[in-house]
Amino acid sequence: MAEPLLSVRGLSKRFGGLVATDLVDLEVGEGETLAVIGPNGAGKTTLIGQLSGDIAPDAGTIRFRGEDITTLPTPARSQRGLARSFQITSIFKEFTALDNVALAVQAHAGHSFRFWTPARTEPVLRAPALEVLEQVGLGARAAVVAGTLAHGEQRQLEIAMALASRPRLLLLDEPVAGMGIDESQRMVRLLRTLRRQHTIVLVEHDMDVVFALADRISVMVYGRVIASGAPETIRANPEVRRAYLGEEVTP
């Protein structure tokens, strides 16, 4: 079998006495959606941070598209096709929605040592950006200053910025965090349209979202992956139920 798109071996990170990730092994194949679930403080966001390059692991390796990227900085990983969204909305608040996405396009359109042409008049940046905004359902909001968008719209913008780089792997950190039911359902519909065409690693608390999207689920507790498998297997796993599902999902 060919090497999976992403493979993680023995990934470990401790903050002082706290073990955030403990010998984590993961594999994600092309086109697959892997959900990582677990109670608060299980190390999920730390895991995403290590995959994206924002947090340096203490031990372990991360291989992406056959290359060891364990020590690569964040921008270099983005250039290789790894895009992330943030748990706490992270956008350029003073700029319009279209500006935000066009910037993500610009990041992958050669160097930016260009000092003369107004970037906002460059069709090679604006057209793809608008296309992605329309894809996530924000086409009509392109000219709105991002900081004034509704919370749900800002979350959609997060996804749009990740998509604009045409990534091979999407790392989504709690994409429905803080959303109402309507917003959350809209986000799930959007994410469903992204499955298959994109490989996704999803960290999420909301079990309905996880079961609606995931091909496979890994369960983290206290920094360790205690179980991995198809959604039905995970649902039925007694250890998982005791550690996590029992608290939130009734059978």
């Binding site: 943030f86 700029f95 610009q106």
Partner: protein
């Protein structure tokens, strides 16, 4: 409407600066020529600082270092008999740009208060270097034997010619600045100020862009330094003193951080206040202080934000 009002305001401002020599000649007050030339020179320095401070979010507290390097780049060749303006000014821009590159390469590895302190420390190092070199005047400084020489093309000893040279440089630099901040490069440094982790996540190695902006700002301020040496016909290490860095920073904040023309306005108001009030009292900053506090508290875009038609450039 806002757009038009702003254009008119800007044109009026430039018209005033352009007509100062005429008024000075009619009123037979050559002093105004001198004052407004000095104002425009500091406006260039302030605009260069605003590129990194206001647009790039890099709070450099050592910007006067480049003013000093630019001045030395004129005075030292002159001391050894090289008066060519092309050589002196070229040297001023290149040298201060390169030194900014080196200082930035170290400083930009830090952020926040550390960045402020490290840029301040570098500038003070250069200041103390300046006062320790006896051959070049040490802390007394040295007179500039003559102004930069541009052959038969421009005669800087003519106060009017010199004035319009500075005026033209200011206008050209503002024009280039306008292009830069809206071009890809400008959007990168402005967005890095807004949200650097996001910039890195979407694939920008922000360091190289910030460093380039830092070097450009240094180079432009070096040019201002070369002009300043010609203006005062004197070189003193005090051009690099940290209080001078503070003055330039105050001009930027007063005029409006992150606006292109604000620092020009800031330089005008700061130096006019200094000129008018210091005739009454040496403690003229007693007036400046409260004004600055009011601006910081109530006018997010400084004095420029209070002008008719001024709007946020980001929208």
């Amino acid at each position: 409407m806002g757009q038009r009002a702003r254009t008119m305001t800007l044109l009026a401002g430039f018209l005033v600066l352009g007509l100062v020599p005429v008024v000075a000649a009619l009123a037979n007050q050559p002093f105004y020529l001198d004052l407004f030339r000095r104002i425009m020179i500091f406006a260039i320095a302030a605009v260069s600082l605003d590129l990194i401070l206001g647009f790039g979010g890099m709070v450099s507290f050592g910007h006067a270092a480049y003013l000093g390097i630019g001045a030395y780049a004129v005075a030292i060749p002159a001391f050894y008999g090289i008066h060519s303006g092309a050589v002196q000014w070229g040297l001023a821009v290149v040298l201060s740009g390169l030194i900014a590159l080196a200082i930035g390469a170290v400083s930009l590895r830090t952020s926040g208060v550390s960045f402020i302190m490290i840029t301040l420390a570098f500038a003070q190092m250069l200041y103390y270097l300046g006062i320790s070199i006896d051959a070049w005047g040490a802390d007394d400084g040295m007179r500039l034997a003559r102004r930069s020489d541009f052959g038969g093309v421009l005669d800087l000893t003519n106060a009017y010619v010199f004035y319009y040279v500075v005026f033209a440089l200011l206008v050209v630099l503002l024009g280039l600045g306008r292009r830069l901040i809206d071009a890809r490069f400008g959007l990168v440094i402005r967005s890095a100020k807004s949200n650097e982790p996001r910039m890195r996540a979407i694939g920008f190695s922000t360091f190289r862009y910030k460093l380039t902006a830092f070097a450009i700002a240094g180079g432009v301020c070096g040019l201002a330094g070369a002009l300043l040496a010609n203006q005062t016909e004197y070189l003193t290490p005090s051009y690099m003193h940290w209080t001078r860095s503070g003055d330039i920073m105050v001009m930027v904040i007063l005029g409006g951080m992150g606006t292109l023309y604000g620092p020009v306005l800031g330089a005008v108001v700061f130096l006019l206040l200094e000129d008018i009030l210091s005739a009454w009292t040496v403690h003229w900053q007693v007036v400046l202080g409260p004004l600055l506090v009011l601006i910081v508290l109530y006018a997010r875009q400084g004095l420029y934000g209070l002008l008719p038609g001024a709007t946020s450039r980001n929208g």
